[in-house]
Symmetry: C2
Subunit: 100 residues, 2 copies
DNA sequence: TAAACATATTAGAAAATTCGAATATGCTAA
DNA sequence: TTAGCATATTCGAATTTTCTAATATGTTTA
């Protein structure tokens, strides 16, 4: 069996482990969308959204393409989609404590 | 449909988004295990392992119980198991970039 | 070409994470 | 009780993350 690369897996999880990036990815996977729209949906600033997109782009979770004046983003990887499904699905049954 | 709590989901992912914690959790889910063993398996210091276990305990991912001189840990939540299955399974097919 | 718009990048401050060192706590055995 | 082992907690330094402000880049339209 292959050696598990925990660093690599942690990097992938880290890219998702931020509420704004999570919302961005969750939005993108419903359909390609431009940065401007992501700003409105997340309520975060232009720079902030752009930097989060940069993180997601760098790890290969999303792809971007230009559409005239706009830059649109699409979900690049199945794993991201699987993790989101998994965590959303579980959500209601979760007993994990996230606040004290 | 229920409003998605991205902060909560990010907290859960953040607890997993560290190579040592990931290895700890991945080890625990194969069977209950004491801290000393986790130190050996991860190669991290006593304090380091204990602090990571604290993070996992605080969010409710693991439980601990005393066994004489030792403290043993067990996996507490199904979601953690699901996410690990998901990411390990995908691993070989992954095209995500995690280094530059 | 100039102005306007959309996005990316850079810089720097604040906050959070991580880890080793030191110390505290709890159990067991002598 | 005392010593010894196992674990937890605290502290502080180094690193990383996150965000705003400012600036740069690329596209479109007048």
């Amino acid at each position: 069996m292959a050696m598990i690369d925990y660093q690599k897996e942690a990097d992938i999880l880290k890219a998702l482990a931020n509420p704004i990036r999570l919302k961005i990815v969750d939005t993108i996977r419903k359909g390609d969308i431009c940065v401007k729209s992501l700003e409105e949906i997340t309520g975060a600033s232009q720079s902030c959204v752009s930097q989060h997109l940069s993180v997601l782009r760098n790890i290969g979770m999303v792809n971007s393409y230009r559409d005239g004046n706009l830059v649109c983003y699409s979900l690049n990887h199945r794993l991201t989609d699987k993790i989101l499904n998994c965590i959303h699905e579980e959500y209601d049954h979760s007993t994990l404590k996230t606040e004290e």
